[in-house]
Symmetry: C2
Subunit: 319 residues, 2 copies
C-alpha cells in the first residue's frame, strides 16, 4: 500500500509499504482523509524519536467489525487493558500503550491503518469527511472541559491563534466563559472574530495577572512565561502544546502566586464528534489547503509555514 513514512527525520513516499502491526483485535481502516497536526511537524523534528507511518487525525472506512463499510474516526491511544493505569481507568495513560502515528503504531498517512475496535467511533452520515477529520483535535480541546470547571463567570485567555488555539477557543466558548485569544496573525484572529470570539494581537497585549484560566497553545518556549504573567493568583494555566526542548524557567512565581498548572493532552471523541456534527464548532474555515497523499511531502512543507491553519491529505475518495 501507499504510505508516508518518517525515518530518522526524513519523510518518504512509499508506493509499496507493507503494514506491520500487532495482529489481535485491530480493525483495518481504509483511509479517506487525514490531517497534518503540529505534533506531526514536531515528530519530523525528532520529537519522541518516532520512525514509521505518521498521521493520527483521520477519517476512514472500517473493513471489519460492527462498523464494516461505514466511515469512522479513531482515538489514538491504544491501551493494553490490563496494566495498573488501565485498571485505574486511565487507558490514555496505559504504560504499554501505542499511540497511532506517534508511538510504536503506524498512522494514517497511508492507504490503511489498523485501529483497536474500541477506539472507533462511527461518523454520522450528514457530517462531511473533511469536517469529521477534525474530531481528534476538537477532542483534545474538549479535554480541557473534563479537567476544569470553566464556566460563564470566568475570564479565559488563550495564547496562540493556530489550529489548536482556534479549536480551544471555540470549545471553551461553549461554557459561556469570556474568552480572549492572543495571537500573532491578524488573519487568523479575523477567523475567530467571525465566530464571535474576542482577539488581541500579541504585539499590543499587556498581561495583567487577571485571567482565571490561561491556555497555552503557542507551541513556543515563550508561551509558559507569558502564561504566568497573564494568569491571576490562584488561577490555572493549561499547557496544551508540548515544547520538546528544555528551556530556562523560573518556578518561584508559580509558588508565590499559587498558580495551578494542568498538562492536557488527548480528549474524548464522543462530545467532539457531536460538536462538529451539530455545528457548535466550525472547522471549515480552518482548512488552508488539501493535497493528495502522493504530494504529502509538499503538504508538510505547506503546513510548516506560519500562514497556514489545517492542511489535509486526501488518501481516497471512496473505498
Amino acid at each position: 500500500m501507499r504510505a508516508i513514512t518518517l525515518f530518522d527525520g526524513e519523510l518518504h513516499f512509499n508506493a509499496d509499504y507493507a503494514p506491520h502491526h500487532a495482529a489481535v483485535n485491530l480493525v483495518e481502516v481504509k483511509v479517506l482523509t487525514a490531517g497534518i497536526c503540529e505534533t506531526d511537524l514536531q515528530l519530523k523534528q525528532g520529537y519522541m524519536g518516532f520512525n514509521g507511518v505518521l498521521g493520527h487525525e483521520f477519517v476512514g472506512v472500517a473493513q471489519t467489525g460492527p462498523f464494516t463499510g461505514e466511515r469512522v474516526v479513531g482515538e489514538i491511544n491504544c491501551a493494553c487493558g490490563h496494566c495498573d493505569f488501565c485498571r485505574r481507568d486511565l487507558p490514555r495513560h496505559c504504560e504499554n500503550r501505542t499511540v497511532i502515528g506517534i508511538l510504536n503504531h503506524d498512522g494514517a498517512f497511508a492507504d490503511s491503518l489498523f485501529v483497536p475496535q474500541e477506539n472507533l467511533h462511527r461518523v454520522p452520515d450528514h457530517v462531511s469527511t473533511k469536517h469529521a477529520v477534525f474530531t481528534e483535535p476538537v477532542a483534545a480541546a474538549c479535554r480541557i472541559l473534563e479537567q476544569t470547571n470553566i464556566n460563564g463567570d470566568h475570564n479565559v485567555v488563550i495564547l496562540g491563534d493556530g489550529r489548536l488555539g482556534n479549536l480551544c477557543a471555540q470549545v471553551i466558548s461553549t461554557t459561556r466563559a469570556n474568552v480572549l485569544v492572543v495571537g500573532k496573525h491578524e488573519w487568523k484572529l479575523q477567523r475567530l472574530n467571525e465566530l464571535g470570539i474576542q482577539t488581541e494581537l500579541l504585539a499590543g497585549f499587556q498581561p495583567a495577572s487577571t485571567a482565571d484560566f490561561v491556555v497555552d497553545c503557542t507551541g513556543s518556549p515563550s508561551g509558559f512565561p507569558l502564561s504566568l504573567q497573564t494568569v491571576k493568583p490562584c488561577g490555572t494555566v493549561i499547557l496544551k502544546t508540548t515544547v520538546a526542548a528544555e528551556q530556562p524557567l523560573q518556578l518561584a512565581p508559580v509558588v508565590i502566586n499559587e498558580v495551578r498548572i494542568i498538562g492536557s493532552r488527548c480528549g474524548p471523541f464522543a462530545p467532539a464528534l457531536k460538536m462538529i456534527a451539530d455545528k457548535t464548532i466550525h472547522v471549515e474555515s480552518l482548512i488552508t489547503a488539501e493535497y493528495p497523499l502522493e504530494q504529502a511531502i509538499q503538504a508538510f512543507r505547506h503546513a510548516e509555514q506560519p500562514d497556514t491553519l489545517k492542511v489535509l491529505l486526501h488518501v481516497s475518495d471512496s473505498v
Copy 2:
C-alpha cells in the same frame, strides 16, 4: 530597640534601631521568640531584594487591642482590604500587600514588630512559646489541605526531609494518606520514623510514576524533575518551596502525563495552632538550637548548615 537587619545581603545586629511602619491599625507586638526559616536564608542570598528587619515566624505579646498583654502569633501577609484580590477573598495575594519580614515590612528579629490586628491569633495558655512559634510553617503545610482533596486512598511522596518536609509529612498524615518522605539525612528521616512516618533515603529511591501526590519541599532545582518522575499520570505535584534561580526545565512530560502542578505558599493559622495545641503535630524534636537575639548572626550560620532543623532566636523571656 534591638533588631537584626538585612542590608544588601549582609546581616547586622543593631542595638538601637528605630522601627518604621505604616501608622494605622497596627498592633505593636513585643517579641518573645522567633524562628529562622529557609526563606530567611534565601532572602539573605538576595531573594526578593529585601532590606530591613528579617523574621516572619514569631510569638510575642500584644501591646494594644483585644489581645493586650497576651501571647499572639501573626499571619504574615498584610492586605490592603480594598484591591481587586482582597475583594475576591484572596487577601494573601493582595496586590498592595506587605509581607512581614519578607516584603516592605519589618519583621520579628527585633524587640518589637507591628502587625495588623486582624492578622493576630491568641496562643492558648497551655501551648509553650517554643511550640507556638511553629504556627507559621505548620500553617504553610496546612495550605496543602485547602488546595487538594488528599485522603486515605492516596499515596503521597514528600521530597525533602528538612523543616518544611517534616511538617508537611505530619500535616498530610492527618488525612490518613499513605505518606513517604524521601530525604538525604538519616537522622532527619529517623525523627520522622519516630512519629510513625515512612521514609526512604534519596540515594536508594527509585521514582516509579505511582504517587497520587508529590510535595516538593527540597528547596533545590533537582526537586521538580524528580517530582515529575515520581508522580503518576494525572497526579499532582505541589511546589512548596521557592527556587529563586532560573533552571533548565522540560515541560513536555507535564503535558504528556497530564500532571497537575500546584504552587503552595502561606496557609491558615487557626487549624495550624489547633494542631500544635492538641499535639497532632509534634514540633519539639525539630528544634536544633536556640540563641539569644544578640547571637543572631551566629544562629543564621548554624541554620545554614545541612545538619539543622529549626533554629530559634529568643528575644525576651517575658515582656
